[in-house]
Subunit: 339 residues, 2 copies
């Protein structure tokens, strides 16, 4: 929905030169920031060109935020938590906070896009907060590219904390992990069935686990869960950056113990700055997205080749049925592609 | 070392037609099986052709084993365990067992290749066991291709159980996981520093964890570790195939409680056959290797393109230093490749 509004919005106006958006972004104008992000998300060639220039102008001003990924299954209270945490950042810590959502399936579920803003009513009306619904997956680098470039624009606009929320399930956790400094997993007590929604491997990616909804009758259960996750994380091999993932409880609803995350993140930043892994991680991520974009693009070239398209489906079937070695089948296609 | 011996061996003989090797494999001739595997591993074009034909002949006879991946850090007692488990399979269960090792770094560390056979002295001299050191990574599909095709040949030769041991560290666990039905992680008690060697995510891939060296003073510690790992695995999201990873203790040295693995694997096979996930997993793996081989081959085409080679290094540097967006840099290279 909101995407449509933006598009109409843009069409009804002139596209300005990149410098216009850059100046607006620098000065903290949220409307212009929003318009620039819409250009970044657009697949229109004219828009893309301006967007590239805006990004190039913003790059030298970017990189000065802490980028935090927030994930958790539906029902864990993600929006309530982000609202509470965001408010504590803007009100108590005088920070500027941007909230971005990433949803690889957003093209199908445009209905949910407007939801974010309406859920975070207090935060979205704060002058130092900027909430942006998730982009759709039209571009070459898809949602990841649009989100990563949106981070840069928000940083150039002076946002100190960028919260990137995963929406939906699937690959979004890995995508988000590859573009943030700190990865937060929200949980609720009484695990078991609730865990069904979390992909295997997500827990090992977490820099912190917060057991939310530690309120009312739930406090004891949450504390028990905290201990269990602590024990479990202890069994994981240590992170290369030396960070030991932290586990805590909180109640986003009652805004209780939200501060614990400030402390955890401060510790994390201090440690990773002192051993240089903070910067190294960002360099690795830039390299990752470079490699990833190339990999996706050359796969597109291959799988859209008419010669390949003609053979792929039948060959794939024989591979799956065990009638041909997958390696031999692959070589057949590669030879077809080369000629 | 042993690879060199094989090569000389082949050179000094005529290469037979594929049917010769196929008949030898079918009849259970281990020398001919060995020679055929050497052809599969070879990068010589003449050898490759015969190897492809041998694989094609063997394919209809393959697939009837249980493929078991065995991993664990150095010092965990992998060889001792495989020897004990292998012997219990051939002696008590009247099975035919093939042991393959996979070592992505084998080209550099040929010294370790001969080690396997000398370490598993009892098993290697048993008539129903076949131990094969790891191939080197010369082929397009690398070590994975050679190993996966070796599995097919061993199955055609009537081996009921294929044990694939990871050697060294790195990506080999993921490679092995993608070619086996059942993945076993060997551990020792007193975790902590020992875990350093295990990559994050390996524990979640395990279908069973065996705490080895549960002997002497170590029994209590091993049982404690067993309980800890059980608790930890319980916190993981469940496997899609419905299997709950099992944890047990054993002493490979004293050949104690090795049988527990027979029971676990029997349960696993029964469950995954009953819900069809055993076969589905193999189909998925065939598709995976098909896609993976294509992906690697087209990356080779790209990165070996002289135009790309000329630009890549300097562009990569600007990406890592944050001077250019990784997406923009990738697009530059893609456009260069297309023209």
């Amino acid at each position: 929905m909101s995407k449509h509004i933006h598009k109409v919005h843009l069409k009804s106006r002139t596209i300005h030169p990149a410098a216009y958006y850059f100046e607006g972004i620098k000065s903290g104008n949220r409307t212009i920031l929003s318009e620039a992000i819409t250009l970044v998300e657009s697949t229109n060639i004219e828009h893309e060109k301006v967007a590239e220039d805006i990004i190039e102008l913003c790059l030298p001003l970017s990189g000065n935020s802490i980028r935090i990924g927030v994930t958790g299954i539906p029902g864990v209270g993600k929006s309530t938590f982000i609202e509470a945490f965001g408010l504590s950042l803007v009100e108590e810590q005088q920070k500027k906070v941007a909230v971005l959502a990433i949803d690889p399936s957003s093209e199908k579920s445009k209905g949910s896009i407007l939801g974010d803003k309406t859920r975070m009513t207090q935060l979205s009306s704060h002058q130092n907060a900027f909430i942006r619904p998730s982009p759709s997956a039209g571009k070459l680098g898809g949602v990841a590219e649009a989100t990563r470039e949106t981070i840069l624009l928000c940083e150039a606009a002076g946002y100190d904390v960028i919260l990137i929320e995963t929406v939906g399930v699937g690959q979004s956790e890995i995508t988000v992990k590859s573009m943030v400094d700190f990865f937060l997993l929200l949980m609720i007590a009484g695990a078991g069935d609730e865990l069904q929604g979390i992909k295997r491997g997500i827990m090992e990616m977490a820099d912190a686990i917060l057991i939310n909804k530690a309120d009312g009758d739930n406090v004891k259960k949450a504390e028990l869960a905290q201990q269990e996750y602590k024990n479990a994380l202890h069994l994981f091999p240590p992170n290369k950056n030396g960070w030991i993932p932290q586990v805590a409880t909180c109640s986003a609803l009652n805004k209780e113990n939200i501060d614990v995350l400030h402390e955890i993140i401060d510790q994390f930043v201090r440690l990773t700055n002192s051993n240089n892994s903070f910067k190294e991680n960002r360099k690795k991520q830039a390299k990752f997205w470079f490699d990833e974009t190339i990999s996706n693009a050359i796969k597109n070239l291959f799988y859209n080749d008419p010669k390949i398209k003609g053979e792929l489906i039948s060959l794939e079937r024989t591979v799956i049925e065990g009638e041909i070695s997958p390696f031999k089948a692959a070589k057949k296609l590669i030879n077809l592609f080369k000629n």
